[in-house]
Symmetry: C2
Subunit: 299 residues, 2 copies
């Protein structure tokens, strides 16, 4: 059994009929639609679905068929940066598929979208064809409005499709990445400076751990502060290491950890790795998890 | 989906044809046969299987049909205590079933076995009809050879079946219990007295944690010692608490933990609870585990 997750973001967060049509197109392809999160102020919606690779591929193409004719970026404005009607399409390996498989999927699906809709496609993150395209922020900089000019530069030729934006649907970023874990640690203090200093210490951009994005924020209603993080590769930068580093940095200021929280979903393997690390489990394998054994043993 | 695990022990560990017939009977009932562990010196075999409650029930009855005519305890001797051809039959709740369900299963299956084979049945552990029958050791004390005399006392009337042993198949203990976790902690020392003192401190029988059995042993080939444990209820006495208590007791003697190990299988929930405790995860629910979400969302 192979499972890929896909989390496309489209530039429509207000018209329910368009969202219904998109959700319907995805579901009909035979994947599991896990979540639909419209944001009217961003004028953007995030779909989360998962399934067998072939069905995920079909679901993405069906989404384009529904979204491209319905969304016109010339009439679109919202708080979130965007460059396409279907703005971003990441493929995430969940079970029985590798990152290499997801990169291959991004390439195939990207080529097919470009051919079918004349939408230019940029491959990003693990699927990027060059280092300058790894970060989505760089690919999308200038947004829809700046796209025609940006694409005139040779370095911003798309990976697939025409060398100019689709008139109403702009361009798409299609890529592959690890599952994101949204992970927050609450501190037993209301000192925002401490949360900010810890965020600076642990995040990649300012010298910290490779796969951590972090910021310090206030939780005003509780009179405490939080180190709010995204962990972008839990295999290489595991949850327990992030927790222990934050805890140590907090101790430096005489502050303790109140609690931590997972926002949304976390892969089982990230929790198992944490248990194994703290319990100093030696030679443990996933095959020792009773439920895994039950699922993999033939009746 | 409801899954019950069953781990019957039969008093035959040498004749392959009998073991094959028993394994075949179990498999034909439509359960997943996870493990067959014959022990010739114990003259005993442990079968582990799991499946839907109805199929597990059918598999146990099929096992009795195969084992009772084939095993004669009057000709049996081995190192392990035993009182029946099918000696012990525990039902263990794994997924979508409660302990109460497993107790009800033990009663139903026990009554059916007694009626079908004229084998007296004692209910034990969570299914026990009186406190004196909770511990399997107490129920089995005196073994097959002492059974006829033991059963003459009113307090040892069986829960089901005749008031005297089956001539060749003795009696059976049928019960319900939580999954066992075999958990060992290796210490960075070769001082056996330290491992024994820690085992005494943490085990239930000598004043320690309620659901821990423990002993201190030598791992001669590695020149270290081990606290070897069975955790008999991981919900009430969780793995992380056992680990932390052993670690603290070891520190009292200036000894550190080298590593720990799970022998065989561990329920996913026991690992998840450990991760959540160490990471101080607040308000975490199993529904946040990506794989669980995938399995419970309709396509």
């Amino acid at each position: 059994m192979a499972i890929v997750e896909c989390i496309p973001n489209i530039s429509e967060g207000r018209r329910q009929d368009v969202l219904d049509a998109c959700a319907g197109a995805i579901s009909l392809a035979g994947v599991r639609l896990l979540d639909v999160k419209p944001d009217p102020s961003h004028h953007r919606t995030v779909f989360t679905f998962a399934g067998e690779p072939d069905r995920v591929r079909a679901a993405v193409l069906a989404l384009y068929d529904a979204a491209v004719p319905a969304i016109d970026l010339r009439q679109h404005s919202g708080e979130h940066p965007r460059m396409g009607a279907v703005d971003v399409v990441p493929f995430v390996p969940i079970e029985g598929v590798t990152m290499t498989d997801c990169v291959a999927m991004a390439r195939e699906v990207g080529a097919e979208i470009a051919a079918r809709h004349q939408v230019p496609v940029y491959l990003y993150e693990e699927a990027a064809s060059q280092p300058a395209r790894r970060n989505l922020e760089d690919v999308r900089r200038g947004e829809f409005e700046g796209l025609a000019q940006k694409m005139r530069a040779a370095e911003w030729r798309p990976d697939f499709g025409p060398a100019e934006p689709h008139p109403s649907a702009g361009a798409s970023a299609v890529g592959a990445r690890m599952p994101l874990i949204a992970y927050n640690i609450n501190l037993a203090t209301n000192r925002l400076d401490v949360a900010k200093k810890i965020a600076t210490a642990v995040r990649h951009s300012s010298g910290g751990l490779r796969f951590v994005k972090a910021m310090g924020i206030e939780l005003g209603d509780r009179d405490i502060v939080q180190v709010s993080m995204n962990l972008t590769n839990y295999e290489k930068t595991p949850v327990f290491r992030v927790f222990e580093l934050v805890r140590r940095e907090a101790a430096r200021y005489g502050v303790t950890v109140l609690e931590s929280e997972i926002v949304g979903l976390i892969p089982q393997a990230a929790l198992t790795a944490s248990a194994a690390w703290y319990l100093q489990l030696d030679g443990f394998s996933d095959g020792q998890i009773l439920e895994n054994k039950l699922r993999t043993t033939a009746s």
